[in-house]
């Protein structure tokens, strides 16, 4: 094998070993040095997941309304609109841009807004519990 390639492989190996040491080292140090055999108990409730002291009511695995999901999707549509307008805002002060460019931006935003209009027509913005049935 070429001498240079071999040296590079050794470098990468040392780098990986260092990365592994940085990852596993703290875990090992904590295991050796921290008094982690047990923690003193007064009510035996160290395993309670909720960290506010109160007993949790019900399970965390509940069903959320699908309305939230749709709302998040629509937010994404708005979000991408704004995201694409940032470069426009940066370039807009250029004196070579004219009225036609403004119209182009309007067309662009209009096309993106169709997603919102579509959701609007589908009735996403009415906050109701929806039941979907298979056709």
């Amino acid at each position: 094998m070429d001498q240079v390639v071999l040296t590079n492989i050794i470098y990468v190996a040392i780098f990986l070993a260092g990365a592994l040491a940085f990852g596993l080292g703290p875990i090992l140090i904590v295991y050796l040095l921290s008094p982690s055999s047990h923690t003193r108990q007064s009510a035996g409730r160290a395993d309670q997941l909720i960290e506010c002291g109160m007993e949790p009511i019900g399970s965390a695995w509940v069903r959320f309304g699908i309305v939230y999901y749709l709302y998040a999707l629509i937010f994404l549509a708005f979000d991408v609109d704004v995201l694409f307008l940032f470069p426009v805002a940066v370039a807009y002060n250029d004196p070579s841009l004219g009225a036609w460019d403004f119209v182009e931006i309007l067309i662009f935003v209009a096309i993106l807004s169709l997603a919102v209009v579509y959701a609007w027509r589908k009735g996403v913005f009415t906050w109701e519990k929806k039941t979907y049935q298979r056709p």
């Binding site: 295991y31 050796l32 040095l33 921290s34 008094p35 982690s36 055999s37 047990h38 923690t39 003193r40 108990q41 007064s42 009510a43 035996g44 409730r45 160290a46 309670q48 960290e51 506010c52 002291g53 109160m54 007993e55």
Partner: protein, 166 residues
């Protein structure tokens, strides 16, 4: 409380323990945990005027699993007893408890014959390291409590003790 089974580490080495205890004493993370009016003084201690961060104890953690010292600042009712116990249980070792104010020490003004719902001292629930008297204690007293806890951990006091009347 009687016998207490204090957890120990795998590696035990006196010089290293001294160093670790010095580190622990200078970064005591209290729990964000206020029960009554003493908590107002505790917030004041965390503010810029009294500045508990001079002693490395400004990192009030919102979770017991990240905190070192529990400052019981206020009255503990029977209804709250299990919550306070749970928080103590969830703190990892090494952990310390400061009983701040008369209510946390002994029930304070609620330690009367007619009392039916106030725990008369948190040391009835779990071991307490430092007691800070006062109703409520001033922020300086809480700082003194932190320094006393540091002294308990390291065996050395951070500042010389000030004699009364000097």
């Amino acid at each position: 409380m009687g016998e207490e089974n204090v957890p120990t580490s795998v590696v035990q080495f006196a010089q290293l323990d001294t160093l670790l205890n010095l580190c622990r004493a200078n970064s005591l993370w209290p729990m964000t945990f206020g029960l009554a009016c003493c908590a107002i003084e505790m917030m004041c201690t965390g503010g810029s005027r009294f500045d508990i961060s001079r002693f490395g104890a400004e990192v009030f953690r919102p979770s017991p699993r990240q905190s070192d010292v529990m400052i019981v600042a206020g009255t503990v009712n029977k209804k709250l007893e299990l919550a306070v116990r749970t928080l103590y249980d969830q703190m990892p070792e090494p952990k310390w408890v400061i009983a701040m104010g008369n209510c946390a020490i002994s029930g304070g003004p609620f330690k009367v014959k007619e009392n039916y719902n106030v725990i008369e001292g948190v040391d009835k629930l779990f071991p307490v390291d430092v007691y800070i008297p006062g109703c409520p204690p001033r922020p300086e007293a809480l700082l003194e409590g932190i320094m006393t806890l540091e002294e308990k951990i390291t065996g050395k006091r951070r500042w010389p003790r000030i004699q009364a009347g000097c």
